[in-house]
Amino acid sequence: MPPAIETSQLVHRYGERTALAALDLSVETGEIFALLGPNGGGKTTLFRLLSTLIPIQQGSARVLGYDVAGETAEVRRRIGVVFQAPALDKKLTVDENLRHQGHLYGMSGRPLQRRSDEMLSRLRLADRRRDLVETLSGGLRRRVELAKGMLHGPRLLLLDEPSTGLDPAARSDLWDYLRQIRGEDGVTVALTTHLLEEAEKADRLAILNAGSLVALDTPDRLRASVGGDTLTIETDEAASLAAAIADRFGLPAHEVDGSVRLELPDAAQWVPRLIEALPGRIESITLGKPTLEDVFIARTGHRFFDDGP
């Protein structure tokens, strides 16, 4: 079976700005795959390319074995798309939204009715079906979006920042549903997110930064790749402190956006030693299990939430 998504040397530019730089990526069928990255990292561009919303400029992308540029119609038949901006007609009811969506995908009559009923009951929307979308809460609207995206039974569901604007309960509902369609229906799910804790829930994830692939693996293996626990030292003079630590102890200390970071297998033992050895120069020191942010920092040399240069 071909990979659900496969890109090769994919490049995309908006004028002068390069959004994707020669991206090679492969998503297996039947997994939940997260594209994690800070805003401007290129993940939404990739989403738009894969969902056929914008044309491929350079390189290639295949979705479910079909070339996105050359076999766009085949790709469109087989993918479901949930956009970040709500794509519902607010002046119409839930039912009407689904009916139009079905018609756009060539479904009609009894089969469409049956399928709508099924989607509405799976997403627990049956009692709201006659309500105008504009009267629904954000969480309910997102569920209608999911019903709409899955209506024609796609083999790949693409979601752009699906948990934006959802409260924790609605987020958890969303993930229950994504796991359900992956498990029961074998649908591949690919989503973009800028939330680290959301990417943790995926089977595998790719970290995108400045249009390039920084890392690609399961969340566990990525965290393990950092090599031990992390120490974060807050100080006024990060650069000189990092140099001092590297100099005196031969440790891999580096400055990251105004603080000093170290990844060490036996990090806990170093906490008292560093404080003793460098009196007055350390404001605070934090010991932590590696997170995806540490992975990001280890690979890019700067923090995930960067407010820009």
Partner: protein, 288 residues
């Protein structure tokens, strides 16, 4: 058991996605109609202003206006202005309908249409046909109002008026679509409305006859009016609405009915082709 059944339908639907462009166009068209009915203020906006224009100009200019027609057969301004007002209603409604493409884009609805497995003409056709039908319905309401000033319709004339109005509305909706497609705000549309679409209507013979270029008798004005495709829309409606009057009651060199049909049909075909063309180009501008 139910889960198993659900999985089966799932597999069935995957293979069953066979795009039906006409069904899609129909659904987009009916969506326009439903949305229109649910936004009642649009109804008043599109039909109210032209009727007010018609009454105010009709009564206000009634005394000073005189067609260069044979004595005693000249129609009054309320009658003269009637076909032009009908076209104004078609124009306003068509324009309001296509402004919705900007809203569709901003509200995100358009995105899901753009990634559906459909040829782009079904999007254009659905949208334009929806706007056309709304315009036509409003036009017919106004026609009935014409009974109060003594207009007479036959089944044939009413059918012909309906058909001709349909063509005009279709052409104007498609024209609005071409303009609206690339705009990201309704304000931009209003600017184009006042510097392009309103003058186009003013120079269509709706307001003053084409033959003498208005009261100034300016030749360039007459040329502009001859070149304006909407002139033939207004002229055609004028001929169809006043089918029972002697030819002398109509403005002197009103274009022939056959010319009106041809030009209006060509106008509709051209604007539809243009809108098909603008949506065919996939660019990042689709996102805005």
């Amino acid at each position: 058991m139910t889960d198993h059944a659900a999985t089966l339908t799932q597999a069935d639907t995957v293979e069953a996605v066979v795009p039906r462009p006409w069904l899609a166009a129909g659904t987009l068209c009916s969506r326009e109609l439903v949305r229109f009915v649910r936004q009642r203020n649009r109804v008043f906006g599109a039909i109210g202003q032209p009727i007010i224009f018609w009454l105010l100009f009709g009564f206000g200019l009634g005394r000073s206006f005189r067609l260069p027609a044979a004595d005693g057969q000249s129609m009054n301004y309320l009658e003269y202005f009637f076909p032009g007002t009908l076209v104004l209603i078609l124009l306003f409604t068509a324009i309001f309908a296509t402004i919705s493409i900007i809203e569709d884009r901003r509200e995100g609805f358009l995105q899901s249409v753009l990634v559906a497995p459909l040829p782009r003409w079904s999007l254009v056709l659905g949208k334009v046909l929806g706007g056309t039908l709304i315009a036509l319905a409003q036009g017919l309401v106004f026609l009935l109002l014409g009974l109060t000033v003594g207009l007479k319709f036959s089944v044939v004339s009413l059918t012909a008026i309906g058909l001709f109005s349909f063509l005009i509305a279709f052409a104007l909706t498609a024209l609005g679509f071409v303009i609206a497609w690339r705009l990201d705000s309704t304000q931009g549309f209003h600017a184009i409305m006042s510097v392009f679409l309103m003058p186009m209507w003013l120079l269509s013979g709706a307001f003053f006859p084409a033959d003498r270029g208005g009261s100034a008798g300016a030749a360039w004005l007459a040329i502009l009016m001859r070149a304006n495709p909407l002139t033939y829309g207004v002229a055609g409606l004028r001929r169809l609405i006043y089918w029972d009057l002697p030819g002398a009651a109509l403005p002197a060199d009103l274009p022939a009915m056959s010319t009106c049909w041809l030009v209006t049909l060509g106008f509709a075909a051209l604007t539809f082709a243009l809108s098909w063309r603008v949506v065919g180009k996939r660019t990042t501008g689709d996102l805005l």
